[in-house]
Symmetry: C2
Subunit: 340 residues, 2 copies
Amino acid sequence: MIVDCHGHYTTAPEGLWAWRKNQLSSLKNSFAKPDISDQQIRDSLEGAQLKLQRERGTDLTFFSPRAGSMEHHVGDVGVSEAWSRECNDLVHRVCSLYPANFAAVCQLPQSPGVPPANCIPELERCVNQLGFVGCNLNPDPSGGWWKEPPLTDRWWYPLYEKLVELDVPAMVHVSSSCNPAFHFTGAHYINADTTAFMQLIQGDLFKDFPTLRFVIPHGGGAVPYHWGRYRGLAQDMNKPLLKDHLLKNVYFDTCVYHQPGIDLLLKVIPAENILFAAEVVGAVRGIDPETGRYFDDTRRYIDGAAGLSAADREKIYEGNVRKVYPRAAAALRRAEGRRA
Amino acid sequence: MIVDCHGHYTTAPEGLWAWRKNQLSSLKNSFAKPDISDQQIRDSLEGAQLKLQRERGTDLTFFSPRAGSMEHHVGDVGVSEAWSRECNDLVHRVCSLYPANFAAVCQLPQSPGVPPANCIPELERCVNQLGFVGCNLNPDPSGGWWKEPPLTDRWWYPLYEKLVELDVPAMVHVSSSCNPAFHFTGAHYINADTTAFMQLIQGDLFKDFPTLRFVIPHGGGAVPYHWGRYRGLAQDMNKPLLKDHLLKNVYFDTCVYHQPGIDLLLKVIPAENILFAAEVVGAVRGIDPETGRYFDDTRRYIDGAAGLSAADREKIYEGNVRKVYPRAAAALRRAEGRRA
């Protein structure tokens, strides 16, 4: 089994964007559901994410609303709540249509300056009523201005308490950038991953939440490349070794789009802390002229990694995800059934 | 010859910080020079940067004021100008006392929202009168709030014209962070490196300035680890191959504090674009328990890199720096004379 823990509905039908446009040009926050048929959903996936699953031989994708469109910075908290519900409902429809191909991960209705506790009702609705297996948590709902307290601040604690209670992890994932300094997928995403990890080094969050689990996407930003720097900074701050300080709670995905990057990730981060992911259809869509393969076909790099044992490969493809996302067990059984 | 292109005067005598404290607690901007004797300067270096040069067998360090103390966000442009002059004058004294060990790189008197052209007089003074060989350019003088236009914006062009005229490169280096989201050496520095490179991908700066040269420190932030992502993003944007788009003008230093990181850097970035550096005494001061060596003893990693040819090692240690910093030729001759 190969589980991709990081996919977004980047190909959502036009009806969703029409709904959003209507929402943002209106003063009310109550609308009919987006005008999207099941066939439109199928069409949006069959030639894209599902085609790539088949071609690349992956089995199950954890699927969340398009990250760049979470846009927590747009409008007020009511706008964010209504938009999050629609995006999550649409992802739920995807997973209901293809229950053996996708498991749902929700967008949270964050809003700049609004205590994250406001996200609890939507999180509970998604997990308890709709069977979602995780959520995306935005450390910067301002969209590139970074005005929220660090992830270790008590500001976030009520949401963490709920994550622990529900036993779902959060992927730490920003949305689009409205700061012209930061290209969104080329700078803001990677910076956010790096920033989040450093915040976690500085704090002692997992003393308070020993079972809370974060996935840091895009291979952990700059962290594995600078693993010596982070080990050294933690040591200078009199923190425990990173494996004890953070690696019981923090995981990295494999959205690193070339073989040398994946090789480094596998070399410095324990296999127990790596989850397979490709983020397709996502940030980088072309074919690497150096390999003739899609940049984002990360399975090639995992399969091509010299010296990765079969046992470690299995952890990365399936074993770890079962531990980090226990609520995905049913979807994993369905995916297994499809394969059988 | 081994040239370290990235060192800061982190151990400057107390007289400098007293001067700064006086400056910031006063309403005037004219003060006596800092009360610092030559012996105090010697003492501040002999047990630190000079000791490490000797122990690690490096020959010449490009030396600039402490990056975290540039603090372009503190006070107004007059405060920044006065402080930059004092910091640069002190570095000049260092290089005058040890002309065969250090070559000077200047801090620029940037200030948030102030056109960078204001830096030209201090840059000219440092280069033309004091023999400085380069400068540090802060892409975010706000100190973590990122309010300046991207480095490709015409906002910066008058300064670039002067850099080209003087034939000195700029190291793209932020200062401290006053944004609590960003630890300064663990997040802000690395993010800034990544951000700057992505800005350069998005633009076409080197069409306008074909001889302008930037050094991106800390191993290029996240860039080499995500080299596939950056190649792919550039391709999706219909930019030329990165080697043609940027690598005639952009260089990475080797401030990456573990062997696997350096190995990755050497694997994906051409040797012609890598400059040796350690940034000592700097961000990470401890001994790596996994190796028993200082994290920041980057010479160990370069010497320990399997498959690096002698010719490429020479480029990284010396050859490239001669091309990127042509004004360092005299200091290189002095360092050679000391060795002889």
